[in-house]
């Protein structure tokens, strides 16, 4: 429920604070942003086997597009009745965000759009123990930790809004597709840092960010002219 309320609070903040009527041009800042994910550390409080620390730096190219570089570190441990698994490593993602809100309404403060990323994960993974039962009894073994490089792409819809001067909050959903796991087809990684479940080619995720905005340039943006309703051309019959 906390997650759900977090999403809708963000949506409400944006929905209620978009400027609806303005006639003159407004000053819009282009920003360099530094965002820190708080979802990973918050999750760590409930699941101390998994820690994800990540953040990003972005720079607005104009009032619709931003270039972004994300980086992080992730530790993952998992065990169940028939195996245990460990992975840890670093990841980077680079890409671009597209703001779908009109520049005048966004005013440099609001974002609702989607991003495209290419990610690389450099990680170690291994199975300290596993067992398998069949007709002949129980087979056991272990797979020592080894180094892998994974490549993936992702689409991440999300929103962001200013809450104080130069401070924003925002979240995005990550819809990731594995391009190359680097592990071979038999012992895929249960978890790839920065990607998620490496046993599947698709992995969703979410981040919630606190963002520091540093303005580096200003633009003046005018509202887009409203389209006039088309005049009726049909003539009445006499």
């Amino acid at each position: 429920m906390q997650r759900i309320s977090g999403y809708f609070i963000s949506i409400l903040i944006i929905s209620c604070s978009l400027p609806t009527r303005a006639q003159d041009s407004i000053k819009v800042n282009l920003n360099i942003r530094a965002g820190f994910d708080i979802y990973g550390p918050a999750s760590y409080l409930t699941d101390q086997k998994n820690l994800n620390l990540e953040g990003y730096i972005s720079i607005d190219r104009d009032n619709k597009k931003s270039f972004i570089l994300e980086a992080g570190h992730q530790n993952f441990q998992y065990s169940q009745y028939n195996y245990s698994y460990l992975s840890n490593g670093f990841f980077v993602r680079a890409g671009i965000d597209f703001n779908m809100i009109k520049p005048f309404e966004a005013a440099g403060k609001y974002y609702a759009g989607f991003g495209l990323r290419y990610g690389i994960s450099l990680y170690n993974s291994g199975f300290p123990s596993y067992e398998h039962d069949n007709y002949w009894g129980t087979g056991t073994g272990s797979v020592p930790s080894s180094f892998h490089v994974a490549h993936f792409i992702e689409v991440n819809p999300g929103i962001r809004t200013d809450i104080f001067k130069n401070i924003s909050i925002g979240w995005n959903i990550r819809l990731r597709l594995m391009v190359y796991s680097g592990t071979g087809k038999d012992l895929k990684s249960v978890f790839v840092p920065g990607f998620g479940n490496g046993a599947k080619s698709f992995s969703p995720g979410i981040n919630y960010y606190i963002i520091l905005n540093i303005p580096y340039k200003s633009l003046y943006v005018k509202p887009e002219p409203e389209k006039e309703p088309e005049k009726e051309t049909e003539q009445s019959k006499h």
Partner: protein, 156 residues
């Protein structure tokens, strides 16, 4: 107060709902987790399937655990290989005539999924048969996995 959600956000909200539903799904293993060597029965000299009247199968050294007990008219049998060894054998009674089959193979671990964990796959090297009722054995697919592919053909 009625809150109107802009059209722009609707796909995002839909994705959130999908994500929440997906994350609430329990982690359960619903796949087959044991690899079987699948053996089909054929008439000698042809590629015509010939189900025996009855088949009994058990592992050599594991006689108390019967895999097939006088199974009637099976078109094939599924044999589990021993992952702790590079060879294992089975006693096979086809129409009350006894034969033994011995398989030599290499095994390797395979991750099925996060939920199911690891199983063993096998690469079949060779098959030996005592030759009482079974005429020949042909290896069709040497990769023994959790898929239902036919691996050998037993001609009798």
């Amino acid at each position: 107060m009625k809150i109107k959600v802009p059209k722009l956000y609707r796909p995002v909200i839909l994705l959130i709902i999908i994500k929440i539903i997906a994350s609430c799904a329990p982690d359960t293993c619903i796949q087959e987790t044991t690899s079987f060597l699948n053996a089909g029965f054929y008439k000698t000299g042809t590629n015509t399937p010939l189900p025996p009247d009855s088949v009994t199968v058990f592992g050599i050294g594991n006689e108390t655990n019967i895999l097939y007990g006088k199974a009637l008219n099976p078109t094939s049998v599924s044999l589990p290989l021993n992952a702790s060894s590079t060879t294992c054998g089975f006693v096979m009674k086809i129409n009350n005539m006894t034969d033994t089959l011995r398989f030599i193979y290499t095994s390797y671990p395979h991750l099925i999924s996060k939920e199911c964990g690891i199983t063993f796959f096998f690469s079949l090297d060779s098959v030996m048969v005592s030759g009482n009722v079974i005429d020949t054995v042909a290896v069709i697919n040497k990769n023994v996995a959790i898929f239902n592919a036919e691996n050998i053909r037993i001609f009798y």
